[in-house]
Symmetry: C3
Subunit: 299 residues, 3 copies
């Protein structure tokens, strides 16, 4: 497990390296380590202690996406995590206003949902290689990627928002309803329960669950195969598929606004405080977040 | 297997009990026994000899839905069957005009399809816990519920209408095409064949197939978890998911009209008579209805 | 393995036989052998050496569809292959202009995609019984059928176009995105990889994978069951399901045009030449086409 914690000043140096297209050399942002190889940019999220989606990580995701889009030699962007237990557990609920400002840099509006939709509409092919927990906006980030492959032993999926009386604000409603149909989406979204990789595959949440030992090899090989194909075809393909299956910006905007609106309910604040008292946003307590969410006291 | 057969006069008493919100006390309609526990209303269908969907059951379903919607303490409505072999086998074909009148009470129009769509649009989260046979409008009723969990050993699914030259009139075309895609929906709808729970799960007809012994515990636990979450969030969630995946009223109305129209064909009457001679609408003969439907004489 | 290679003059005789409704008698086109039994027309593709989709096969497919549609006694049309290794591998890339002219006979425009959409919109119920390889337009042909059942041991699926920098032009984008969702469709369409029958089933590419030994019996029995049901109901069913799940003609037309447009890229020509040198369009080399497509030299 490599962890790259670095000062922000190193970003400019990194971007230079990316532009040189020097594949061998790893580059580091504060919360993401990137490396490029044969048309594939690998972005490894490493934001200890648990990869919470806060301002720094949103800022670095924006930078990585911008750089990859600007680099003609990059066709495929792979996201993975340096932490085997947490890919992205969810947003940092104490810093919502801050990370939304960073999202606006690419999305034009302070909304994670619109940032993630920007990623889905990108000409790049994006792949999430998932080990550990993706809940809430973590799940929504990987749903915004074009494909998702997950480690059978360790990946855990959940939309936790309803335990706080909220609906997901960054795309889960749009993606999950289309991927798994009305009934499974209502189950997943209303129950705030954890789903393992095998069930997530059966429900269509991910493309496939694979043995952890085979995951990295599988994704790398797939990414390199795709990256060897002509860029114009890949870009046109995404346009055509998105025209059918990617929800309009306006729907993402409404889900984003509803998330904020419901966040203002007294019940949400009461439940959030109860969760914080039980260790929400700590590495240890979130290992069994599923149980905690089912036990938050009724208002 | 509890069966509650009761005179209709008891209904008013039951409604009173529901309004008192007294969870411990079971309540009975003529064809449905209801009990409430911690925000969940359990409605057990018990209409011997085989839970045919006739006027009494439609009337009681309407009452249960109305009461549950009017009771602020109810967030989740679970439907199950007191008969392990039949959940709802299909409509009572000898009493179509009658049950349609009862459907109009909630739907505004004499159409089962519109009644079922009303249920899908309700702010309540609805779960079907399925043992035994759901065919025809029985399948359409559970498809109108938000989620479906079925006993692996006993649940059987079928849209039998095409064996009589009809298309399903109460939502199966709308739901199955969206849940399982064009090809599997055409298979299911054109073949009038039986599907077991395992295959129904693979096709997306149900959320999941579970061992019969685990089914009740699983559904109760899921329902109670959801019922502990704030009502406003659940209601908004359904609105947003339905906006994507619930077909418009007009499409249900057209399917309903087409069902009636095709029911007037001479072939349909000939096939229905042939089926009645072979025991259609009797408990014993419908245990292997799949075979009977494949053998009705060509007109 | 029966192979019927015949001169074109025999077609008129065949059509006469079809109209006589004489089930026992097999009929032969140059590239397709047809037989009729109890409302089902079985069309076996036999165009050695490998069932490439060229002008003769497109011409004969058009004839078979026209005849089946004109014959009131036919309700179900089953396509299978006389070659256990190849169902339809893809189009004959050396004769594109020619086969497109034959497609225009039914589609009104020189486009395979519009011919295939015509088949999907037909009042006939169509079933593909798949052994061997279906790649490119071969996959698109079976996707245009209402249902697809495949031999677990031998069926192989792939959309190979992206290896040449093209997007599929005959319906794969429209069908696969709707059947398997955005993420799996992007995987399949961008990777140009082979998928076996089991994975194709999990992804919704086919209805079901079956043991090869059981496939013929299963499909024949299903086809005969459906063919015993009244024609008016089957026809109305297709109308209603297609209204939900069959993409508009205009989308097929755009994909068709994009395929031609991207085919004009220098990269496409370079890659096609590289493939031809390695045995593309030969029986032996295409047994492991998956590997070849991953190794075509970058332009």
């Amino acid at each position: 497990m490599t962890r790259a914690v670095n000062d922000f000043g190193s970003e400019l140096k990194v971007l230079d390296e990316l532009h040189r297209g020097d594949g061998a050399q790893p580059a580091v942002f504060e919360t993401i380590t990137v490396s490029k190889e044969a048309g594939v940019l690998f972005a490894e999220i490493a934001s200890p202690p648990m990869n919470l989606l806060g301002p720094e990580l949103v800022r670095d995701l924006v930078s990585v996406i911008q750089q990859a889009e600007a680099d003609d030699s990059v066709r495929v962007l792979v996201f993975k995590s340096a932490d085997p237990d947490y890919f992205i557990p969810h947003v940092d609920v104490t810093r919502i206003a801050e990370y939304r400002q960073f999202a606006a840099k690419l999305a034009g509006e302070p909304s994670l949902g619109l940032l993630f939709r920007y990623l889905s509409a990108s000409h790049l092919i994006t792949i999430a290689q998932i080990e550990g927990r993706v809940r809430g906006a973590g799940s929504e980030f990987v749903l915004a990627c074009d494909m998702r492959f997950a480690a059978r032993e360790s990946a855990i999926f959940g939309q936790l928002e309803m335990a706080f009386g909220q609906t997901p604000g960054a795309g889960a409603i749009q993606h999950l309803t289309r991927l798994m149909g009305r009934s499974r989406a209502l189950e997943v979204l209303s129950s705030a329960q954890d789903y393992d990789a095998e069930l997530a595959e059966r429900y269509g949440w991910i493309n496939r669950a694979l043995p952890a030992a085979a995951l990295d090899g599988f994704v790398t090989s797939l990414a390199q195969r795709i990256a060897a194909f002509p860029a114009a075809g890949l870009s046109k393909l995404k346009e055509r598929v998105n025209a059918i299956a990617l929800a309009p910006v306006e729907e993402f905007r409404r889900d984003s606004a509803l998330f904020v609106e419901l966040g203002g309910q007294p019940e949400t604040r009461i439940r959030m405080e109860a969760a914080m008292k039980r260790g929400f946003q700590t590495r240890e307590a979130e290992l069994d977040l599923n149980r905690m969410l089912g036990e938050l006291v009724e208002q």
